[in-house]
Homo-oligomer: 219 residues x 4
C-alpha cells in the first residue's frame, strides 16, 4: 500500500478484508516529510489494520534508527523493515537499536548484488527479481551465499550479476524494465513496461539475451 495516509489506510483496510497476509508500506506520494511526520504516517497506517506491516525504506521515506524504534514501541504490528537504500552505516545503527524486534529484508534493486554484504550485517533475506527468468542461477546464487561458497558467488557475480547491473544502470527505472525483458527472453509473456518506465533498447535486449544464454539451462 502507498500514496497519502488516507489512501494507504483505505488500501490497508481493503487488503485486510480481502484476506491479505500482510502489508508492504511504500513511501508517501511526492512529499518530503520530517522524521516525526513519517512516524505519524506509518503509525496511522499500522493502527488502521491488524495485519503485519513491513515498511519500505526508500526514496522520500528514509527512517532513522530513533524513528523506527519509536514506531516499534508504538505499533505491535509493525513487523518488518525492507531496505532499498543500501547505507551500511545506517542499517548497522538500526540493527543495533532494534535487534530482533523487526524482520529485516534486503529490498535493493538486484538484491543479489547486496546479498553477501547484507547477510553479514544480519539481513540474510532478499527477494530475487532475476528468479523470474533465471531461476536456476538465482537458486544457485542463494545457496552459495548461504553456504559461504565465495568461489560460486564470485563466479556468478562476474559472469552474470555485474554485467547485468551494468545494463540496468543505463537508465533510471531499468531495474523493472530489465526484469520484464528477461522474462520475454526466456519465452514467457511479460508485456511492456508502463510509463514513466521505458523498455530496454533492442541492442540492450540482445546484450541481456547473450548474458542469459551463457548461463546455460536453468532447471
Amino acid at each position: 500500500v502507498g500514496y497519502g495516509t488516507r489512501l494507504a489506510i483505505t488500501f490497508a483496510m481493503d487488503a485486510e478484508r480481502l484476506g491479505a497476509d500482510g502489508l508492504l508500506l511504500m513511501p508517501p506520494y511526492l512529499t518530503e516529510g520530517s522524521q516525526a511526520g513519517l512516524q505519524a504516517h506509518i503509525a496511522a497506517v499500522c493502527n488502521a489494520t491488524r495485519l503485519g506491516v513491513i515498511v519500505y525504506n526508500r526514496a522520500n521515506c528514509r527512517l532513522s534508527a530513533a524513528t523506527l524504534a519509536a514506531l516499534a514501541d508504538q505499533c505491535p504490528n509493525l513487523i518488518g523493515f525492507k531496505d532499498g537504500v543500501g547505507d551500511i552505516e545506517q542499517l548497522t545503527a538500526i540493527r543495533a537499536r532494534l535487534g530482533d524486534r523487526l524482520l529485516y529484508l534486503n529490498g535493493m534493486p538486484t538484491a543479489e548484488t547486496y546479498a553477501p554484504a547484507f547477510r553479514n550485517i544480519g539481513i540474510p533475506v532478499y527477494s530475487s527479481a532475476i528468479f523470474n527468468f533465471v531461476p536456476g542461477t538465482a537458486l544457485a546464487f542463494h545457496r552459495a551465499v548461504n553456504a559461504g561458497d565465495t568461489a560460486t558467488v564470485d563466479r556468478l557475480m562476474r559472469d552474470f550479476l555485474v554485467p547485468y547491473v551494468q545494463i540496468r544502470n543505463r537508465q533510471p527505472g531499468y531495474a523493472v524494465s530489465i526484469v520484464k525483458a528477461g522474462v520475454r527472453i526466456v519465452g514467457r509473456s511479460a508485456g511492456h513496461v508502463r510509463p514513466p518506465l521505458s523498455d530496454l533498447t533492442p541492442s540492450e535486449y540482445d546484450e541481456l539475451a547473450a548474458l542469459i544464454g551463457r548461463l546455460g539451462p536453468q532447471d
Copy 2:
C-alpha cells in the same frame, strides 16, 4: 493531477469535465523514469485532455531540454513548465531550446528567494506562498523585483525572507508547514498539516510570529 499515468489521465478527464481551466501535472508516484519514459507519461496525459497542461519539474520528474522540446512538438496543449529544482544551467538550456513556446513558472519553495535570479533568465512569474499571511510584504516584494528596486528587495530578503527560509530548512516538508503556521499566526484558521508533514515546534512558531510581527501591518 499526479500519480501513475492511468490515474493522472482519469483526473485530467474529470477536471476537464468539471470545468477546470488547466492542469498542473505533478511527478508520477515513486518510480524513477528514463527521459523517454517520462516523455511517454506526460504525452499520454496531454493527449487525454483538451486542457492546457503545465508540467512540474521536480523530484523524480526532471526533464532535459531535449525531452521538453520533443513534448512541445508532440503536444500542442503542453503550455507551461514549472520549475521546482532551481538549476540555473538547466533552465538556461531549456529557455534557449524552447524560447517562447512554453510559459515558465518559478515553482521553487519560497519562490521569492529565487525571484530575482529567475526573473533575469526569463522566468518572471511565480506564485507566492507567503502572500497567504503577509500579503502586503509579498506585494511589495513583487513590485520591487519587477521595478529593479534592489534596495527594497535586499531589505525584505534580510528582514524576512532569509530568516524565514532558515526556519523552513530545519525539517523536510516545512515548506508547507511554515505557511500553515503563518496563516494561523495572522489569525486565520489553517488547521494542522497532515503526515508525512509535521507542524513547526512551538518555539519555531514563536520565531515566525516575531518575524511576521516585525513586518508591521499588511494592508
Copy 3:
C-alpha cells in the same frame, strides 16, 4: 594559494613579498572541515598577510553566511567571496547578511551561463574563460547582460553557450580542457591539459571548432 593552512600561509607570504596585489584562497587539500575549522583555516591565512584575500566557495570549502560574517569581522583584509557552487538560496542569505562588506564574484565554470541570474542577486562581476578564444563574443555577451539586452543574451546562449556547456559536461574536469581546446582552435598554443584532466576527444574538438566557426570573426 591553497593546500593546508601552513602551506597556504607560506604561499601567501611569498606572494606578498613578490608584489602580488591580492590572493585567491582555494579550498584546503582533501579534508572536509566543520564551519568552525574552515573559519580557523581562512582566518589563519588572512592574518598572515596584509594582502586582500578573496575566498573561493567551492568543493570541500562551502561557507555559511554565519561563518562568513564572523570571518568578515575578524579579518579586515578578507575582501571578497568567489562562488563556484551556484546555490541561489545560499548566495542570497550571504548577500543579505554581509551586504557591501565583501566583493562578490561569479566563479562558476562557464560563468556566462550564470551571469544573468547572478547579476540580479547583486553579483555582476565574473571572469570569462571563453574570452581566451572568443573575445568578441565574450565582450558582446558581457555588454548585453549589463545592458539588459535579453535578445542578445538569449541568442548567444542558444547559439554558443548552451551547446558549449553540453560538451563541457561530458567529463569531469572538462571546464578546463574545453578552454585549452578553444585556444588551440583559434590558433594559439595552449598545450595539453595535465592529469587528472584529459583533453577533449577529436570529435568533441571538432564539435567545438564548428561552434566557434559559426560565431564569425572575433575582432
Copy 4:
C-alpha cells in the same frame, strides 16, 4: 603521497629513496578528473617508483572497474585498492573484474562499521582508528568479525561503535577529531586537530569519555 601529479611523483621518489615499503596514493588536489585523466595521473605516479602503490578511492578520485583494470595491466606495482566510499555495488564490480590481482582495503572512516559487510564481499582487511585509544575493544571486535561471532559484533556495535559514529557524524572532519579526543581521554598526548578540522566540543568530549568508560579496561 598526494597533491598534483608532479608533486606526488616527487614525494614518491623521496619516499623510495628514504626506504619506504610502499605508498598510499591520495586523490589529486581539488580538481575533478575524467576516468582517463585519473588513470594517467595514477599511472604516472606508479611509473615513477619501484615501490608498491595502493590507490585510495575517495573524494574526487573514484575509479571505475574498467579504469582500475586498465591500470592493473599498465602498472605492475599497483598492488592495492583502498576504499573510502562504501558503494557495495561498485566494490562488487571491481572485485568481479580484478579478482586477486589487487589487495583490497577497507578504508572507510570508522572501518569497523563496514567491516562485517566488507568482509563478506572479499575485503577483510581494515585499519582500525579506534585501536589508538580502545585497543582491547578493537581487537575483540576484529576477532569477532573474523570468527563470525555475531553476538559479540552486535554487542560492540550497539554499546560503542554506533553511538561513537553518531558523535562523529555531527561535523564534517570529526572522523579525525574524535580519534584525537579518544587518545587524550585515555591519557596520552594527542594535541589538537589542525584547521580545517575542529576539536570536539567539551560536551561531545564528555559523551565520548562516558562511552569509553563503559567499555572497561583495555588490556
